[in-house]
Symmetry: C2
Subunit: 325 residues, 2 copies
Amino acid sequence: MNPEAQRCVRSLIPAHAPRNPSGRAFAPSNIALCKYWGKRNEALKLPLTGSLSVSLGKLGSQVSIHLADQDSFQLNGEEVPPSHKARKRLFAYLDLFRQNAECFQVEAENTIPMGAGLASSASAFAAIAQAVDALYGWELSSEQLSILARMGSGSASRSIYEGFAEWVAGAREDGMDSYAVSIAPVWPEFRIGLLILSQAEKAVGSTEGMRRTRDSSSLFQSWPAQVERDLPAIRNAVLERDFSRLGQHAEQNALSMHATMASAWPPLIYAQPETLAVLHRVHTLRAEGLELYVTMDAGPNVKLLYLAQDREAVRSAFPEVQEVE
Amino acid sequence: MNPEAQRCVRSLIPAHAPRNPSGRAFAPSNIALCKYWGKRNEALKLPLTGSLSVSLGKLGSQVSIHLADQDSFQLNGEEVPPSHKARKRLFAYLDLFRQNAECFQVEAENTIPMGAGLASSASAFAAIAQAVDALYGWELSSEQLSILARMGSGSASRSIYEGFAEWVAGAREDGMDSYAVSIAPVWPEFRIGLLILSQAEKAVGSTEGMRRTRDSSSLFQSWPAQVERDLPAIRNAVLERDFSRLGQHAEQNALSMHATMASAWPPLIYAQPETLAVLHRVHTLRAEGLELYVTMDAGPNVKLLYLAQDREAVRSAFPEVQEVE
């Protein structure tokens, strides 16, 4: 248990026993349009810059937490053994909330594939934070829940909301001003198409990737400058429903993040040959006039961004696309 | 004819008619281990940073220039028509040297494929500068020839030498301190293997690529910081024959250059799916212990760097590799 994180949590939550026998919550996964890449505090998961995301509809995590005689963790109906790193991470997080050695029976259902660059940890920790809030009966605000979720997984701070959310970096050392706020609901014509090119586990996880990039990439020094351009542009594009502007900045932001990784040592190249084939195809289609953009996270998969009116053109170019509902 | 370039050339060359009926020179192509990427003066081809290269043995350009009644240009035995951009570029360059409206019959033989990322303009302009020097009988120094070559094509400044050459960026506005110097001969065990994945012409040339990157990539702001790390490291690695150090810095430098391009808008991605497959294979082989590194220029092809002792391992992984002799 990290003492710094413990202090932060204790300052947020009332010190009383659980008021309910269980708590339950759903949180959507999210895709960052302006990426979270680089921490200023690893223990508290405080980011170097702000970020902005859109939630993924029904794709996310449903979590139930029951008081029990001993800790247990079921993921998608299967018991996760105590040695598993996901379980260790879960209970290290729940340790932050225990008042009187109470134990938890946690059941989580993820509707998104694990480790495929779709941020299951974001929806999982956002749902856990809200389920814990329901269990204890704290009735925390969205901002407070966002802080708690953030301490489980940085990008979980944004999964507290449906629609577009901005995680404000904040400046305080204790992170009490580092939480996400809702920007706007998803607009009806806005579409996200998933291209799952590989479901393989990443060789290097995103926390380790962030660390390596920060320590060895010269170009990473200019990453905050890219975010300073993209974040306000994407926020305004969302508010004005200016899809082209959103797409351009989201794609440049994602490719810039991947660029910082490729310039690290040893180089971190999450793109696979199929990823690059998709990128070139998107660029060709765009040159032909289709308003189609991409974003990518720390993995080989591609997320397509387009408007409903172009759905058929996108499907005809990428028959395997899975549109988020 | 650019008046700034004209002034610089006139300050370097004696003002007399050609002393010989012809001049002839060979210059090797070169591959940058620390890349030239970004100009501080486009007309004079002055670079933002220094760079360092190794010459490519017999791969290069053989150029003969004869005095004639009218300008003509033969490339690899074929007449190049006056409308062709290569011919226009050649005679715009030769305009800088004409004393009394003399005309030139230029014959060039390139032993390297055009437009495949192998810098035929580097060897061509280095050979032209030396052939012009022979024709006029100026007897310029290597540094002066390097300046003249640079004004034809930046990387040509380094093709004046066999072996490892460093192009010192210089600080003067007229570029008189911006030339290459010889660092060391190629060491016998050092090997370069070419993987020609595509001979197609680039959609975006390197000058336009540089410009787009400078104007739109935030990460490019940190490119000089990467060069400041790589250039002295590669120079020392060459002098100490420390192949691992050379390889690491050369590869990080090349991937960082490509990273700045990928972070430009519209994105410039020269890598093709096959390029990425090669990179991943190299990284796997290196993780298995093979001392194999890559460098890449503004194109999809890959140059492998290795030692003679690993030649068979490299050939077995990449049967199509063309080793530079």
